[in-house]
């Protein structure tokens, strides 16, 4: 029963995270991370660290703030018109739970509409969640996109 409780809480947390992204609630999304939290998207699944490695994203909260401020700047030309995204998160499995942390893997599928073009990004999330008094906080989110190594038709501007 207790186990089911954590499973449910983790799922609700992941759903909230994707809703914040789709809702463009950038600050709310950044606030989900611990003060030293990192969002990491490796270009290849074999990578085991972002330290000293090429990365599509390897952002702490300061860099996340740069990205947010840029997207919101009126002269971020490529961000006008804004895009729409739709995330579906599923296959949520608790990999490991300790007193302070939960390691959870899941799958995502994201559809993006930019002008008239639709793109799909899909792959795996691996969240290291810290248990805090206010609920979970993300210590590390690893994002392995199935299409990470494909040529990018245009680029990606917000977190996936």
């Amino acid at each position: 029963m207790a186990k089911n409780g954590v499973q449910h809480e983790v799922e609700q947390f992941l759903y909230r995270q994707s809703e914040l992204l789709d809702g463009k609630q950038w600050q709310g999304w950044i606030d989900l991370f611990t003060p030293d939290g990192v969002y990491w998207m490796p270009p290849e699944p074999s990578h085991t660290t972002w330290e000293g490695m090429p990365a599509i994203f390897a952002e702490d909260k300061n860099l996340m703030t740069v990205r947010m401020k840029r997207i919101l700047h009126p002269d971020a030309w490529s961000q006008r018109p804004l895009w729409e995204t739709n995330h579906v998160v599923s296959n949520v499995v608790i990999e490991k739970e300790t007193k302070n942390e939960v390691l959870v893997r899941s799958r995502f599928h994201m559809l993006e509409l930019r002008r008239d073009d639709v793109r799909h990004f899909a792959g795996r999330y691996l969240h290291t969640l810290k248990k805090t008094a206010k609920g979970f906080a993300i210590k590390l989110q690893r994002v392995d996109m199935a299409n990470a190594q494909a040529a990018y038709d245009y680029v990606i501007q917000a977190w996936v």
């Binding site: 998207m41 090429p54 401020k69 002269d75 490529s78 040529a151 990018y152 245009y154 680029v155 501007q157």
Partner: protein
């Protein structure tokens, strides 16, 4: 025949402007591929991409799918990716190791790394009395007419005749010297991740943007401002912010008029250098530690010469943009008149301390990765340019900024003091373009 469909090329290019069809006409694109990309020296890759015998990378040269492969004898070969039997592509993967030989997936013809025929199934029983025998040269995988390697950077030309690689690069060869000399061991090795991004625009639009010193503070101000805000915030909290923030904030804090302080130097064949701010030498502990290693390797005098080279970007026409002080490059592969692939690589200075690699890596990730905070807005402009040029709203593209103030010196065209935003690089590129197309 193409020439007949484009009767008077000279009508398309004037010293200060070019017609829009130069960017949008499929006929002109075919002519460009034939007379430029499939003729001149095109960058294939770095030798450290293929360290072991049988290692290969596929690469597009003009319209030709090629394979760069390391031979068993250590030499690098560049071959057409085509089986001489029925035309099947030999390498289906983008990269890999082919083992001791290539084997066609269709009928098992095999080839050595230099393209020479190795075996054909049923050679004796199947081909007796035919024109096919194992010594027929047409049964080899065709190789690029010429291959040259300069300090590890491998180029191929599909034309038998023409200037040598060194003659072709001329003084713009400094792109590779500047990159390699900054390594205490005098050479670089590739970081084995290639970022690939597709632009929906003509290949020339990208090249013209590379040395356009006016665009950064307009195109990139959103990121420059955002990075500036956070840079100041971190400084307030910790006293010092990482240099990566400055690399981004410089796009906005250097205002339009300041960009005129930089300079472009334009060379024959369309090559060009933009001098600039990346040449500044910070005095932080990481740099000072690096300086020590460099002085030990080169001596004080040579060290000063090496780190004194003032380059932001080198453009090697028609397909390579090199940022030597940050050890990265972008190779431009035209896929169609309105579609261009860029392959973006980062290199490690051999023998340099780790923090120096990390510093340029930060730039690679923030500026050149698929989540780029900078190139996104360039790509948007490129796409918009191509859309506008496809319209009947006007016939010409103007390159007149600071025209008439350029200074000719030793066969190169330098922009005059305080004319760094001159459109001289675009004029120089189009001049080379017109010469190539006249054949």
């Amino acid at each position: 025949m193409l020439q007949e469909r484009i009767p008077d090329l000279s009508k398309y290019v004037e010293p200060d402007r070019v017609r829009r069809e130069v960017y949008t006409s499929p006929e002109i694109f075919e002519l460009e591929m034939e007379r430029i990309h499939e003729k001149v020296w095109i960058y294939c890759g770095h030798e450290t991409q293929v360290p072991k015998a049988g290692d290969y990378y596929t690469v597009q040269i003009g319209r030709q799918p090629m394979i760069m492969v390391r031979g068993s004898e250590g030499k690098i070969h560049v071959l057409y990716n085509r089986c001489p039997h029925r035309g099947n592509m030999i390498a289906g993967d983008r990269k890999g190791n082919t083992g001791e030989f290539f084997r066609c997936s269709y009928h098992a013809w095999t080839f050595k790394h230099d393209g020479k025929l190795r075996s054909i199934p049923m050679m004796e029983s199947g081909y007796a009395g035919t024109r096919i025998n194992k010594d027929s040269p047409e049964l080899c995988m065709k190789h690029a007419a010429r291959v040259e390697n300069y300090r590890g950077f491998v180029f191929a030309s599909l034309a038998k005749d023409g200037p040598s690689l060194k003659e072709f690069l001329g003084k713009a060869i400094v792109a590779f010297d500047d990159m390699c000399d900054r390594a205490p061991e005098g050479s670089v090795e590739v970081v084995p991740t290639c970022f690939r991004v597709i632009q929906h625009s003509n290949w020339k639009i990208f090249l013209e943007n590379q040395l356009d010193a006016l665009h950064p503070s307009v195109t990139h101000q959103s990121t420059g401002r955002a990075a500036h805000d956070v840079e100041k915030l971190i400084e307030k909290e910790t006293g010092k912010s990482p240099i990566a923030y400055h690399m981004l904030s410089a796009f906005a804090t250097v205002t339009i008029d300041k960009w005129d302080n930089f300079q472009t130097i334009n060379y024959p064949y369309g090559h060009c250098i933009l001098t600039g701010y990346m040449g500044l030498r910070p005095q932080d502990p990481d740099t000072l530690a690096y300086d020590k290693v460099m002085i030990k390797a080169y001596g004080k005098k040579r060290f000063e010469e090496i780190v004194g080279v003032n380059i932001h970007h080198v453009l090697l026409y028609p397909g390579l943009s090199v940022q030597s002080p940050l050890q990265q490059l972008r190779a431009v592969r035209p896929l169609g008149v309105d579609k261009t692939l860029t392959e973006i690589w980062h290199f490690r200075l051999k023998g340099a301390p780790e923090p120096i690699y990390r510093r340029s890596l930060a730039y690679y990730n923030l500026v050149n990765s698929p989540s780029t905070l900078i190139n996104a807005d360039d790509l948007e402009n490129f796409w918009k340019c191509h859309q506008g040029l496809s319209s009947d709203g006007g016939d010409w593209v103007s390159f007149a900024r600071h025209m008439g103030r350029d200074l000719e010196k030793d066969g190169a065209v330098e922009t005059a003091p305080n004319c760094g935003t001159s459109e001289a690089p675009m004029r120089n590129q189009m001049k080379a373009w017109a010469e190539y197309l006249r054949g």
